[in-house]
């Protein structure tokens, strides 16, 4: 330990830099606008009651309210009644900064909808990728047929193509088909994962042929073998691939930014966050950081719970 102290010093310095924006993001999501402005309040802020100016502005007591409340404030003049009502409104509009920030994050924009879209898109991408890649990988690994090597060569070639780079022609194609601003546009370009085929093929190569022959003896069709024999054996590889796929598409900003324009109902979490940035003024830093925290948290928590699996899954993407 004493011998290694300098290593810890260096690594701790790195830790501070790596964690600083996370610290700030979470901390600002707890603080009131004033505290953010003045840089006060430590990590959690002082959590003093604050008044939401928008809420007050919306519920400003008008003539009718004063008339209605006259009975409660017998014998007082209008100005006093109005002042009393205003005080009531302010009381009902005051809350802790943390409640303010997180409730604004969920009410100011349909954040739940964005999160749901994120789940729909990532899950359907992964499922379709598996449905397409698994049979292909099995055929390339275990079936001998004319042209197999050519197909595999094509897979290797396609590994060279980053899908982000051909975004423009894909966008044109989808626009021609009238598919922009649909779930299909978000999912279709990712339905083929050449990397998934490659990964599964390498995995299937290690599965003994006897297992497959036995299944054939039982009269299973090749397709049935894929789903009932190969799929269960491939679970560890599939899990790694799932992590890689979900992380990539949950965090993806580039593609949704291109094909979803304006239709808020289709926004994925990163797009929703960007929207927040677009129309927020100074007082919205807190809610914005709350939104950022909400969309970053699911993957981070999953990662902390199952680190080894996650690192395996993400590192595989290196092979892409």
């Amino acid at each position: 330990m004493t011998r290694d102290w300098w290593k810890h010093m260096v690594l701790i310095l790195g830790t501070i830099i790596v964690l600083a924006p996370f610290y700030m993001m979470v901390s600002y999501s707890f603080k009131s606008p004033g505290e953010i402005d003045r840089g006060e309040g430590g990590f959690f802020g002082r959590q003093e009651m604050m008044i939401d100016p928008r809420c007050v502005a919306l519920r400003q007591p008008d003539r009718a309210d004063i008339e209605a409340a006259r009975a409660r404030f017998a014998g007082q003049d209008d100005a006093n009644v109005q002042a009393a009502l205003l005080a009531e409104t302010e009381a009902s509009c005051s809350m802790r900064p943390v409640v303010f920030n997180y409730s604004k994050a969920f009410t100011e924009a349909p954040l739940v909808r964005y999160l749901l879209n994120g789940v729909i898109v990532t899950v359907s991408i992964f499922l379709i990728q598996v449905v397409v890649a698994l049979p292909a990988a099995y055929a390339l690994a275990k079936l001998k047929f004319w042209g197999r090597d050519a197909v595999f060569g094509l897979v290797l070639f396609c590994l060279l193509i980053p899908v982000h780079a051909i975004a423009l022609p894909l966008y044109i194609g989808l626009a021609k088909l009238g598919l922009t601003n649909t779930y299909a546009a978000l999912v279709v370009p990712w339905t083929i994962s050449v990397f998934g085929i490659f990964l599964m093929r390498q995995f299937f190569m290690t599965v003994p042929d006897d297992l497959i022959d036995a299944a054939r003896m039982d009269g299973m069709s090749e397709l049935a073998i894929v789903w009932r024999v190969m799929l269960p054996t491939a679970v560890p590889a599939l899990l790694a691939f799932a992590i890689f796929s979900v992380v990539a598409h949950w965090n993806d900003y580039f593609w949704p930014r291109i094909v979803v324009t304006g239709n808020r109902d289709l926004f994925t979490p990163p797009l929703g966050l960007r929207e927040f940035k677009g129309d927020g003024d100074g007082s919205f830093f807190g809610p914005m950081m709350a939104t950022a925290t909400v969309i970053v948290t699911p993957l981070i928590v999953a990662f902390l719970l199952a680190q080894r699996r996650f690192i395996e899954g993400i590192t595989l993407s290196g092979m892409k």
Partner: protein, 322 residues
């Protein structure tokens, strides 16, 4: 009667093979179709369109020959694009690979306690880059940001002897994202911050496969210092990992987009100092509907990336051991 006609025998034998061949094609067919439609056809389309002045919604288009490419190499805004892209790649790749290797060596030498650092350094890889870019934007905010507030703490201390701090204390610290001298470097910094943990993990995987005996052997041969052991054993053993990490980092660096778009949605940074290729494709091809020029940038982009990957394959196949 026991003699079976040879032709019949061959048919009987060929039948399951035939069936399996058909099954094989049937199983790869969906993947093959999608591969063609989603990956191959678009490249051809981009290639063709890069020689036209096509824009979406127009009924026709004209062939303009290599005019789009000519523009890319003559106009100053594209010169800025190349400068920004290569500045980013040339800065981010060596530093993130270097830091990744350094962190991996330190973490590896610490054993189990090192795992904590591994977890922490991997967090930015997992986090949504757009969210983190916005968090960094706040960190770098000239008045409410933590960075400038921290820098202001140095005012009145011996730090002021340094020109940067003296200047900052007198006239205010940089605007960072609004200053063309700093903008691209800030983006590079965030790129490194986000990506080096990934490289570290790849190097760690490489390090665990280096055999202990090699170190003993090196020591027997007189390699006493840590540096000698690194130079003679660790570094050569990490050769293939390094090739791999460098290529991956290059490809990822070429594709930088999220931070640029988050910071400057209107156009690639102060004075286009951060106008990277991916953003240029997005701006020209999609926002401005200049598909010809966007396709030309796409083609160049693909060329760079494929070239890099091919170099990597070639190096790996030669089984690099320096």
């Amino acid at each position: 009667m026991a003699v079976v006609d040879p032709s019949v025998a061959s048919i009987v034998k060929a039948k399951p093979d035939n069936r399996r061949a058909r099954a094989g094609w049937g199983l790869v067919a969906p993947a093959l179709t999608l591969m063609a439609l989603i990956l191959l056809v678009p490249i051809i389309v981009a290639c063709v369109l890069s020689f036209t002045n096509y824009s979406l919604g127009n009924p026709g288009f004209d062939w303009v020959g290599v005019q789009n490419y000519e523009r890319l190499f003559t106009r100053s805004s594209y010169e800025k694009m190349f400068i920004a892209t290569f500045t980013y790649v040339v800065t981010v790749v060596p530093i993130s690979v270097g830091l990744g290797l350094g962190a991996a060596l330190l973490v590896h030498s610490l054993g189990r306690i090192g795992e904590v650092y591994k977890t922490i350094y991997f967090l930015p890889v997992m986090a949504t880059l757009l969210a983190m870019a916005i968090a960094w934007e706040f960190m770098l905010h000239p008045t409410i940001g933590m960075v400038n507030r921290t820098l202001e703490l140095t005012c009145g201390t011996w730090f002021e002897a340094l020109p940067f701090f003296a200047n900052g204390c007198a006239e205010g610290f940089p605007l960072w994202l609004g200053d063309r001298d700093y903008a691209i470097w800030v983006v590079c910094f965030i790129g490194i911050w986000q990506g080096f943990g990934f490289n570290m993990v790849l190097f760690l995987a490489g390090l665990t496969s280096v055999h202990r005996e090699l170190y003993h052997a090196a020591e027997m041969d007189g390699a006493r210092s840590a540096w000698e052991r690194f130079r003679l054993v660790t570094w050569p053993a990490l050769g293939p990992t390094t090739v791999f990490v460098v290529t991956i980092s290059c490809i990822r660096a070429f594709q930088v987009f999220d931070t640029i778009e988050a910071f400057w949605p209107q156009g690639g940074g102060p004075n286009k100092s951060a106008y990277v290729m991916m953003f240029a494709i997005f701006e020209k091809g999609i926002q401005q509907n200049l598909i010809g020029i966007g396709s030309a940038i796409t083609m160049l982009f693909l060329l760079f990336v494929m070239f890099l990957t091919l170099i990597q394959r070639w190096l790996v196949e030669r089984k690099v051991h320096y």
